[in-house]
Symmetry: C2
Subunit: 312 residues, 2 copies
Amino acid sequence: MNSEILLEKLFAGEARAVARAITKIENGADGAAEIMKAVFPKTGNALVIGITGSPGAGKSSLVDKLALYYKEKGERIGIVCVDPSSPFSGGAILGDRIRMQTLGLDKNVFIRSMATRGNLGGLSRATVDAVAILDAAGFDKVIVETVGVGQDEVEIVKTADVSVVVLVPGMGDDIQAIKAGIMEIGDVFVINKADREGVLRTEKELEALLSLAHRPDFWNSPIVKTVATENKGIEDLSKAIESYKEFQAQGEASLIRRQAIARWRLLELLREKLLSDLLGKNGTSEKLEQLALDIAEKKNNPYSAVEEMLHG
Amino acid sequence: MNSEILLEKLFAGEARAVARAITKIENGADGAAEIMKAVFPKTGNALVIGITGSPGAGKSSLVDKLALYYKEKGERIGIVCVDPSSPFSGGAILGDRIRMQTLGLDKNVFIRSMATRGNLGGLSRATVDAVAILDAAGFDKVIVETVGVGQDEVEIVKTADVSVVVLVPGMGDDIQAIKAGIMEIGDVFVINKADREGVLRTEKELEALLSLAHRPDFWNSPIVKTVATENKGIEDLSKAIESYKEFQAQGEASLIRRQAIARWRLLELLREKLLSDLLGKNGTSEKLEQLALDIAEKKNNPYSAVEEMLHG
């Protein structure tokens, strides 16, 4: 399939073309940049929902139920699942297949895991590009689900239009530490597994923490209680997401946020491009291996080696 | 304090010099590369222990108790706590102070949180450099504790001599997903909070998963049960760590691992250096801001903008 036909099918919303385009940008294949240049002007119609939270919070179930809810309203939903903690296991693909069966495999739901990250980095950038592809392919909602709660994941979720943070009752002591970091990024908070003991306490703690946080846009992040496995609270969640979207559309915050996302994306792309240009030069990869061995054997140090890579 | 005196005090193990050197490399300050060049040849004596696991697993308590255990044996312990999920809150510093009180503030225990990551990235690299500084400053054990379980954290833990993965009983459904990714990096597994219900089931599940994993070095990762808050199982943990260290010292895996670490570190440094060189050029930062605004307003796309940054 040449690029022109691929793009045509992509804009028509064909799942196979979407999958192929994502694979191309994931691998940094020839023509990937051309695809993204064509895709970019067609973006901006989808609502991008980022969902993050601790492992064990039941994010996957919540995402699936939310997707089904939108699907029943006649919308098309794309799901991008970021699982960087699983770089070797291949479990991601298996997981996708299981979930596709639950969600119903048709042209209105597309699910894709992003798990590989090579030496050149770029998982965050590839994820953001995958979201743009789904947007350009006419999906109404694009849900980005992250498995971990590290720096990369936080940055990915920040690029969404609406960020949802999922907690569960009684997660233990150092959930406080997580909460502190996550306060700034949550536009909507979910307490999932809300049929469990301790839900009231978690809600009170969360309210207390939220009252201390001062958002520059003065938004009061709502707290929604759900039991995803029983399909409870999903409509409330969709309403909370909608209310933030409406709030955001009013203010200038929207442009500032988009600029911040664009800046971050530019820096990611630059970092990747500069390194791949360097490593693409004749003999540079061999030099890297040799220098790495020298360092391992203590014949050199990383800082001098970098200077040799750049100037020697 | 000039660099020479700083280095002298650092090699003498003075906490303030260590702290200052880490701050310099964290900020990418002038002379940071020179410090690391001097530090590097003095490294390789400390045992570097990486500890990761899900939020709520009680990692901090476990690390504190392990540090106290080593301290009572007359060893000097450095702790580097990586908390990238908390970039704005300043909670890290407060946390350090509380923990220093518990651990006893003396020259045998040093604790430092790494939380900031600027536009230029580099948290992982800064963490690895901080570990090298503590190593060169004569700390016998350096413990690297990560709060999140994302890609960055996994990579950081991989650079340790021994990687410890902490789990708790009954973490719920999608712990499976985490486990799958973590199998490859755990040299020692801990089931903390082992006085809770479900510990036997978690142990069985873990054993089953471990029996499926095939490590290139044929090491059988031991499982240790602890109750950190009650100081139970800490000696067992230290023995498991020691046994892996001895195992590793025998084989060639050690050099291969050090080469892999060196390669990763070189790539991190290169990525950072190439980008900061570019952004250090006259007018480039302003250009970046303008292009980011253009993209936000849909007058440009990220891929064309990158080309303009590099060639235009």
